[in-house]
């Protein structure tokens, strides 16, 4: 962790957020919203939760810029792959 990261992250707040979001996700899945809305909402919630874990638990928020770039780098080919596969199937 770099110097400005010495302020301790509020781990329990992140934990509470993750637990609450998980409950919301399950509720959304069974709510019977329009299919496309449900899928988009669920993916949005999952990405937000993943971001919370990476930023706070994995301390990415306090890492150097170059390490952040390294961490995000695989998401580009991953996104390309998922988008191409989705386009092929729809």
């Amino acid at each position: 962790m770099s110097a400005e990261g010495k302020k301790k992250p509020r781990y329990m707040a992140v934990f509470g957020g993750l637990a609450a979001l998980t409950a919301i996700e399950v509720a959304v899945a069974f709510m019977g919203f329009e299919r496309r809305a449900t899928v988009l909402l669920l993916i949005g919630l999952a990405v937000y939760k993943a971001l919370l874990v990476a930023m706070y638990f994995m301390h990415l928020k306090w890492e150097t810029r170059s390490l952040k770039i390294l961490a995000v780098a695989p998401l580009l080919p991953a996104a390309i792959m998922v988008i191409v596969v989705l386009m092929e199937n729809f």
Binding site: A19, A29, L70, N89
Partner: protein
Amino acid sequence: MEAEASRFEPATFQVNDKKLGMWIFLASEVMFFTGLIGAYIILRWGAASPWPVPGEVLNVPITAGNTFILICSSVTMVKAFAAIEEGNQKMLKVWLLATAFIGASFVGVQVYEYTELIHHGFLPSSGLYGSAFFTMTGFHGLHVTIGVLCILWVAMKAFRGSYSQADHQGVEIIGLYWHFVDLVWIILFTIVYLI
């Protein structure tokens, strides 16, 4: 002190070489799981027969509980790291053992889930859905299992007094892996169970 001398810090990243190595490994893991997710998308939307909706085959409440368990284990892991950052040896050991225990519980619930599914005739050979489900959750479960073993290893080293407030790279690195496995589950749970 010998360890101190051998530690190489790549200038670009300004992090310890072990930490950099773990992040590069995790980058490759992202691609591994993306491959599985890509295959899942192709199988699901290319399938001739309708794909089961959430709760039809799988027990979503149990797995939602299991997701919560894994999140708890991430918290205990980060608490272990916070403990050794303050030089608290006792809490480091306590939180590491708690993490290993909770992580093993996750695997236990997954094994229970598998046996229930198999009793109901849902097997890896049960069509595209069965093979996709068991491949994705199975590979994740394998990652959790390996994580538990590694955490036990780190805990053993903690009991030997290998970590200190100044030097606790091992705790940080297994923490990165463990949180990543939690992160992957967050994505997989959504894709496999909820969508």
